[in-house]
């Protein structure tokens, strides 16, 4: 089952398209990271997935074909929006109770356990908590709903490094406990590497990269070699992005294992951060799944 | 040239002359509150337009009345009827009732929509952390804002008050004793008192905003306080004010009137007599009573015995005592009320500024 499936999804605000021709299919049971520069359309995509916005073009479905925002979808999908919007004038316990009253699925014990573990004062108003504490309350509520699919919009942005670590640990604990699928957008590339199974890179309203992290890392290498010989890397190594020095060039290339790099070149594995940055710097490049050639020179008919 | 040296050539504002600073602060005030100022301005313009149009029509009727000699209301002769009938039971009277309810509204709206959110919004959204950390101190900013906006509010209030007074002139003239300028309704509809009222409402709103630091509660408090104060003024404070330094003397002509209302045991006259009675035309008559030889009010029981007997009553006319204010004192009272309200507004504004200085962010 695909936990989220979009077909040529697009959303326009006025004249500008925030998201266009977005086609994705993320399998269930994964932790999916959605990355991209500011204004790339990440929040738009997540809002569309939650039924907060309706598409201008295309469609989006969740949890194996449920229309986004439908009653069935909302029952099983939990969302923590950007900046953890909660009712600031309510104390923590009333906020939790309010969420309980608005949902059919609710595990009060889980909520209590988490709040106790977080040592959050129950009677303090949400508005008086720190950013990290507010994010944790929002996550507590989302997890207490016992969702099958958890969607988070830039949850780590307002958090300090320790708080980020704790937040991600809580998410991963829920993943381990329940086997839920997670989709979250973030700028924190180093943390993503530790937790993400599936990666989607969004740039300029379009999907640039979509694939399993293991696959992506296995099919990309960072190469260092003479600047003059960059052209000679193909067709086995498809250059994604190159940085030229005076004599040396640093290249991030996509290849099909087990091809080996030419003699003058040194290859090493890439980190997720390097991979994402390389693609973001080359808007024309893409790495998408589906019936598509894996590099121009490998001949047609090679599909994944 | 290093970056720091470059900074030395940058614009320096501080030692500039005060008017230039004020102009800059004026722009800041305008730009920051533009939407509210436009909104409140539009509303006030609507009310003013209504008063202007009605006033023009009323004055037309009033001039026609003068031309046709219909001024004394008892002259309900044929040609006067169409001119005077709006004033007996027609649209002129309904205009007066609408104005009665409408006149305090712009002042309250100024307090609620301009005054209350002025500082409350900054506190609520946290932009004080920007505004209070600029080179212009928070005191100077707040004082400039309050002064500029306060003056604008006073001006607007004065215009509304003048319009109210001007438009009601024909109504007062042609409806005998129904609408006189001493009554609470019209007493507030003058440039002086309307301006002062608007200024006070504005200051109250600002203070409420600083105290509560959240917009909607500040608005709620301002509504309650300004409406409550207006109510108090209309009913208690106004009559208390007019009772200060009253004169007392005999007024036989009034004593013979049958159009005297009674409140309790004393004869209570909150009315104004236009017909040059007793040489006190235009005076505000507060209370009147029939007095015995000892100058003390006759009891109700005593009065009852004589009421149906015109001759005995005639003897008593000479002892009908009234407490009254001379007509010349009208503007004294106007200034007193206006001045007190402006003073109170300044006090509230100063309190607001003091609180702004004291508070953290």
């Amino acid at each position: 089952m695909n936990v989220i499936e979009t077909t040529s999804l697009g959303r326009r605000f006025g004249r500008a398209w925030a998201l266009r021709h977005c086609t994705l299919a993320v399998p269930a049971g994964q932790v999916t990271a959605l990355v991209g520069p500011n204004g790339a359309g990440k929040s738009t995509l997540l809002n569309l997935a939650m039924g907060l916005l309706s598409p201008t073009a295309g469609e989006v479905r969740v949890l194996g074909g449920q229309p986004a925002g439908s009653a069935a979808a909302l029952d099983r999908v939990a969302f923590v929006a950007q900046d953890a919007p909660l009712y600031r004038h309510l104390p923590v316990e009333d906020m939790v109770r309010l969420a309980r009253n608005l949902n059919y699925r609710w595990d009060q014990q889980r909520a209590d356990r988490r709040l106790a573990a977080l040592d959050l004062p129950r009677k303090r108003k949400i508005g008086k908590l720190s950013g990290g504490q507010q994010a944790q309350v929002a996550l507590t509520i989302a997890l207490a709903r016992r969702p099958e699919f958890l969607v988070l919009d830039e949850p780590l942005a307002p958090l300090d490094p320790l708080a980020r670590h704790e937040f991600l640990a809580a998410v991963m604990e829920a993943v381990a406990e329940d086997g839920i699928s997670v989709l979250f957008s973030s700028h924190a590339l180093t943390e993503l590497e530790r937790v993400a199974d599936y990666l989607v890179v969004l740039a300029g309203g379009r999907v640039q990269v979509a694939g399993e992290v293991g696959d992506l890392l296995a099919t990309h290498r960072a190469l260092t070699g003479p600047a003059t010989e960059v052209d000679q890397l193909g067709p086995a190594f498809e250059v994604v992005h190159s940085q030229h020095g005076r004599a040396q060039a640093q290249v991030l290339a996509r290849f099909r294992p087990p091809a080996a790099a030419p003699g003058d070149w040194q290859a090493r594995p890439v980190t997720l951060e390097e991979l994402v940055l390389a693609y973001l710097r080359e808007p024309g490049a893409s790495a998408l799944p589906g019936p598509e050639a894996l590099g121009a020179g490998l001949g047609t008919g090679v599909t994944r | 040239m290093t970056a720091l040296a470059g900074a030395a050539g940058a614009e320096r504002l501080s030692p500039g002359p005060p008017p230039r600073r004020l102009a800059r602060l004026g722009w800041v005030t305008w730009r920051q509150h533009r939407a509210t100022l436009i909104g409140v301005g539009l509303f006030t313009a609507l009310v003013a337009g209504y008063m202007l149009i009605s006033g023009l029509r009323l004055h037309q009727l009033g001039n026609a009345a003068v031309q046709n000699g219909c001024v004394q209301p008892s002259h309900l002769t044929a040609p006067c009827r169409p001119i005077l009938s709006p004033f007996s039971n027609g649209w002129a009277i309904s205009y007066a009732s609408v104005l009665n309810l409408l006149l305090p509204v712009p002042a309250i709206a100024i307090g609620v929509f301009l005054g209350a959110p002025l500082l409350a919004r900054e506190y609520g959204s946290g932009t004080t952390r920007f505004a209070w950390t600029q080179a212009t101190t928070r005191t100077r900013q707040t004082v400039a804002k309050l002064a500029l906006l306060g003056l604008a509010v006073l001006a607007v209030g004065a215009v509304l008050g003048w319009l109210g007074q001007w438009s009601m002139q024909p109504v007062s003239a042609l409806t005998a004793d129904q609408y006189d300028r001493w009554e609470p309704f019209l007493f507030v509809a003058t440039p002086v008192t309307a301006a002062a009222g608007a200024g006070l409402a504005f200051a109250a709103g600002v203070l409420a905003g600083v105290v509560t630091r959240r917009v909607v509660p500040a608005m709620a408090v301002t509504v309650v306080v300004t409406a409550g104060f207006a109510y108090l003024t209309y009913n208690q404070l106004h009559y208390w004010l007019l009772s200060l330094g009253q004169r007392q003397s005999a007024d036989p002509a009034l004593g013979g009137g049958a159009s005297v209302g009674y409140a309790g045991a004393t004869n209570d006259l909150h009315r104004l007599f236009f017909f040059g009675v007793g040489g006190r035309a235009g005076a505000w008559v507060d209370q009147g009573w029939y007095a015995g030889p000892d100058r003390r009010p006759l009891s109700w029981a005593q009065l009852e015995r004589i009421w149906g007997h015109p001759k005995l009553l005639a003897q008593l006319h000479d002892t009908f005592q009234v407490t009254w204010q001379p007509v010349g004192r009208y503007w004294l009272f106007q200034s007193a009320q206006g001045g007190t309200e402006v003073l109170l507004a300044l006090l509230l504004g100063a309190l607001a500024v003091w609180l702004v200085r004291r508070r953290m962010a």
């Binding site: 309706s54 929006a81 950007q82 309510l90 608005l102 969702p147 | 039971n89 009674y262 309790g264 209570d268």
Partner: protein
């Protein structure tokens, strides 16, 4: 069974049912508690004011009944001190005072309960929480609007009852133009006060959804409610009471038609009673003189006809015709206006819910 399988199988799920309404009611109360309490306090203050005034008025009335001054009304010397406060001073003033305060309730209900209801959620971004919970947003918003709307209707009805009760004796005894039909008092009944409050509330909610900012939504609501009541007071009322008028001759009234003249027609707008001859309890709309042939006389002629006796008029072959509403239609108009306002409120509320559904986050 893994946790996920358990979740998929429907574990942790409570069945939807009647308790849903209780849960949503709790959500509504807890989220909007402050506004509800504030509005409730305001309504309670109004209620207390009317209650104590009503008790005093009824005491006066009972005293009048005891002393035989009231049924029928006798203006003897003994009765004068009891009856004349109903003409001049308090409680006659009470009627105009309550006219000042009572319209504030619908305005307050709209401004402080209705406008922030959805506007605040949009402004603060908490829609991203509220619209993504297990309860469908349509159901959530509709339930909130209905529950809060019912509370507002109930409070308005209670206030309307208190007004009517407290004002009853004054209407019975006042010789002024006070009766239940006049625009100033027609609106102050349980039906219409509730309907007005409900309409203001619904409009405010819609304004909040459209404007999406709290203070502007409050301002729009205030202006619309005030403008709406002015229009309703002056124009709509005249239009409504002009529907389906009866027509008959009323020679006795021709002696002195107490109304403003507009052309050759007298605008009466008063209830037939002991001082105004006409069909019993009828609301008199307009009147005019007709000549022997049954045509309306011209304005010039009509100006000269009043103050002749009935016999003189008959001799001149002039009769006085009136158009009027039967007194029994009072409740028809009450429910007609109230029903229309409620219908409009429902439409506006439904429009608000529909706009929420439209998925603009």
């Amino acid at each position: 069974m893994t946790a996920l399988a358990e979740v998929r199988a429907g574990g942790w799920r409570r069945p939807p049912g009647l308790t849903d309404l209780g849960r949503l009611a709790w959500v509504t109360w807890r989220q909007h508690r402050a506004a509800l309490i504030g509005l409730g306090l305001f309504a309670a203050a109004l209620a207390v004011y009317m209650l104590q005034a009503g008790l005093r008025v009824h005491n006066l009335w009972d005293a009048g009944v005891r002393d035989g001054c009231v049924r029928p009304v006798r203006w003897t010397n003994e009765c004068r001190p009891i009856l004349s406060p109903f003409d001049v001073g308090w409680p006659q003033d009470y009627v105009s005072q309550v006219s000042l305060w009572l319209p504030l309730f619908p305005i307050a209900a709209g401004m402080f309960l209705g406008a922030p209801l959805l506007a605040r959620e949009y402004r603060a971004g908490t829609t991203r929480f509220a619209w993504t919970q297990g309860t469908d947003r349509t159901r959530l918003v509709a339930t909130k609007i209905v529950l809060l709307g019912l509370a507002v209707l109930a409070a308005g009805a209670v206030l309307g009852v208190l007004v009517q009760w407290s004002v009853q004796p004054i209407l019975a005894l006042s010789s002024e133009h006070l009766d239940r039909w006049i625009p100033g008092l027609f609106e102050y009944t349980p039906v219409l006060e509730a309907a007005a409050a409900g309409l203001a509330f619904a409009f405010a909610v819609l304004a909040g959804v459209l404007v999406r900012h709290v203070v502007p939504a409050m301002a729009v609501t205030a202006v619309a409610t005030i403008a709406g009541s002015i229009v309703s007071y002056q124009q709509l009322y005249a239009w409504m009471t002009g529907l389906g008028l009866h027509h008959s001759a009323d020679p006795a009234l021709g002696v002195d038609p107490a109304g403003a003249m507009s052309g050759n027609v007298f605008v009466l707008h008063t209830t037939a009673g002991s001082w105004v001859p006409g069909p019993a309890g009828a609301w008199l709309d307009q009147g005019w003189y007709t000549d022997a042939a049954g045509h309306r006389v011209s304005a010039k002629v009509a100006q000269n006809l009043p103050f002749h006796s009935v016999r003189q008029l008959t001799q001149m072959h002039d009769t006085f015709q009136v158009t009027w509403q039967p007194g029994s239609r009072y409740w028809l108009f009450q429910f007609g206006q109230g029903g229309t306002e409620l219908l409009l409120a429902l439409i506006l509320g439904a429009l608000a819910v529909w706009l929420v559904r439209r998925r603009m986050a």
